[in-house]
Assembly symmetry: C2
Homo-oligomer: 421 residues x 2
């Protein structure tokens, strides 16, 4: 008898790093520099306790938090979200609209529903090369084609983007192109941050090709790591501040990473008609994210606790990143190129060309044998037959490991690399 | 320029009762007997405060609750869930397996992902006639065909089910049939409960047609209202207790309705290979439901607080249902047939044939004008061209309205009905 599974059910692949995680569990002494977990010690245990106590102290505030809400999300939280983003964007209010904001179960759920609303099987989405691998998994599961655009340390390679767009026009495939996906701050996996100038140029390029596409081509900005900035650089405004954003920018944000990953609340801001489509889709997914979490976040934002928690997390990540940077300088071979991010959770390491750090490489297996785990960079590249996936890269996270484990882990990794380079 | 939306994005219809809800908001004096909200006054505000305080009192228990978890869900909660169900099912342990359990954002999210895993556009799912309208919305949005099977007060009309199966076999469409969906306890919208004998017969009938289908045909049991029993009848075991359940029964359960609808935690138990497919799909949706809510529920279950809360809710709904029953007897015309449920949140009223209580009926509009809202029964019927949708029915909820509003609302509705019948 055949399986009854749908095409999607049959096609959806296991997450690329699930076996990494299983491996980690099977080796209790293993130091994982792989997971994108946030720092355990910084989690707002006491803050959350106080906020929830305040919320649940009286039936007047407690009952609404324990009852169903609306599909779009709690209206106070949507207002606070728009105001919060406006503030981060220097008071700009071009496209920060509570009425086009939807609260979701983490920004991941938003990304999923938004892709459901936009893309059919066979459609094309442009992504950074490399990019966030769970976004690639969404595309893979739905039979959507991803095309990688070269990533530089300040954002996309614009010439490469234009070349791809021109190529799609020429091949007649532009009508299948729906969007370009940017992880714009301290990117997962490279740590790169896109400048405002590049965001503007990307939006302009997409616009230029819309006529040939016959429909809007959206710029999806995923700002998941935005608030985890710890260098002293200036915050870059979002593409919501650009001219034309109101009709073409889809913004994905989250409170989970900066506040607490166990409190899964994210959000999206989008143009019509995508907003209405996503809202209807969410009506079928869950008709609204858990109200208790939304009320908790609204209290955190309104009381200033959220800002205090973010400041605390930033300080802590600054320290951890500094420890990792020093350890990398000490233990890694000099010909390994390090992208040391000014925020987020990841450093990116490039080995000399021709040396593989991929899933099946000697380096990866030697690292495992020495009880240290990283994410092979190749897992972050789209299946795009127009280029080979580089295998000489590593994503190294300082998010969840302790200072000591960061030092020890990098020392072990360095020893492995010295053996093979 | 055309829209860039996907077929799913274009097709997904607005929820059938969204305008009902908007209408309710626009008339502040309106008594809503429409929403499926649970009782506000019974919500476990103080219980939740105490449990969360306990959880967040120390970093040791607080941090894991505020960190990411696994995609399948917190392992303690999965064990407690299997044990809880086993207990409800009289100790039966045929198919109550933590390793095939997935924790989700309400049972709604589970239903969505499970349908994603099973059904392609054009596939067929059998449903009760009438059934839960948000499940119908999932099917509608994905281009899946629903076929209605006549519902009796003790479950499906088995002769009608067999007739439909035989018809599908004859027309060659059986290979498109993937599942049958039952809301088995105090059904939404009719309040009907399916007997174990009928569950067994349904599973047997589905099995009988599998050979012609060429693949498994699953029995989906949605037990959302199971624990909201308030009559003194005996609890019916789930279809998980039946022979063959392990490979053919997909069970959807929830903690949201019995505990708190603002704490959206549901679960599914399913056979391979559907379990693995749903797990992978959830990896793309959100890679795990908010851990804070899962830890809260695990504490509620382990401490006995959950059972105390459910007992409290049952007592309260028993009182509200009794008030509604008396009011209906007093105010509704005698020729209106009432299905008074022994649990759940809804009564079902059938007007004499030929009299419409539908969305565009005089009765519905007169009710609105008199500030009382119900759900027109026709909204709960699948789009199935093989029969006309009955329009003479009403779903009347006692879940959220106060005792006084129930009395007043039914009096108003009764006055309207007397005018038109």
């Amino acid at each position: 008898m055949k399986t009854a599974l749908s095409a999607l059910g049959r096609r959806t692949a296991p997450p690329p790093i699930s076996w990494l995680m299983k491996t980690a569990l099977a080796r209790p002494k293993l130091i994982s520099l792989a997971a994108g977990f946030t720092d355990n010690a910084t989690l707002p245990v006491e803050f959350s306790r106080q906020l929830l106590n305040g919320l649940l102290r009286s039936p007047k505030t407690g009952r609404p938090a324990l009852q169903y809400g609306t599909t779009a999300g709690e209206s106070h939280l949507r207002q606070l979200t728009a105001a919060h983003l406006q503030k981060l964007d220097g008071g700009h209010d071009r496209a920060h609209a509570p009425e086009r904001t939807i609260i979701t179960g983490g920004s991941q759920q938003f990304l999923y529903m938004m892709i459901e609303a936009l893309c059919d099987e066979g459609d094309i989405v442009l992504v950074e090369d490399p990019t966030y691998f769970v976004f690639l998994s969404i595309l893979q599961s739905r039979g959507i084609r991803a095309r990688g655009v070269k990533l530089e340390r300040d954002g996309l390679d614009l010439a490469h983007l234009e070349k791809i767009l021109a190529g799609l026009k020429k091949s007649g495939e532009l009508r299948r192109l729906k969007a370009l996906y940017l992880v714009s701050y301290f990117q997962n996996p490279t740590g790169a941050t896109t400048t405002l100038a590049k965001k503007r140029a990307v939006l302009k390029l997409l616009k230029k090709y819309e006529r040939a596409a016959g429909h809007p081509i959206y710029l999806i900005e995923d700002a998941a790591y935005r608030e985890l900035r710890f260098d002293h650089g200036v915050d870059v405004p979002t593409s919501l501040t650009l001219a034309g954003a109101k009709t073409r920018v889809i913004y994905a944000g989250t409170y989970s990473k900066p506040f607490a990953t166990g409190v899964r609340v994210g959000f999206g801001i989008l143009p019509e008609p995508v907003y209405t489509a996503v809202l209807r889709i969410k009506g079928n997914h869950d008709f609204g994210t858990a109200n208790l979490l939304q009320h908790l976040l609204a209290r955190a934002l309104a009381s200033g606790v959220y800002d205090r928690q973010v400041a605390k997390a930033r300080k802590n990540y600054a320290r951890k990143a500094a420890v990792m940077k020093r350890a990398l300088a000490e233990h890694f071979p000099a010909n390994v190129e390090i992208w040391a991010a000014g925020g987020g959770l990841y450093f990116w390491a490039r080995l000399p060309k021709g040396i593989s750090a991929g899933v099946n490489s000697e380096i990866f297996h030697a690292a495992l044998k020495n009880d240290v785990l990283y994410v092979p960079g190749e897992l972050c590249y789209a299946d795009d037959s127009s280029r080979r996936k580089p295998a000489n890269e590593m994503r190294i996270s300082f998010g969840n490991a302790s200072m000591n484990d960061i030092r020890k882990g990098i020392r072990r990794l360095g020893a492995v690399l010295r053996k093979f380079i």
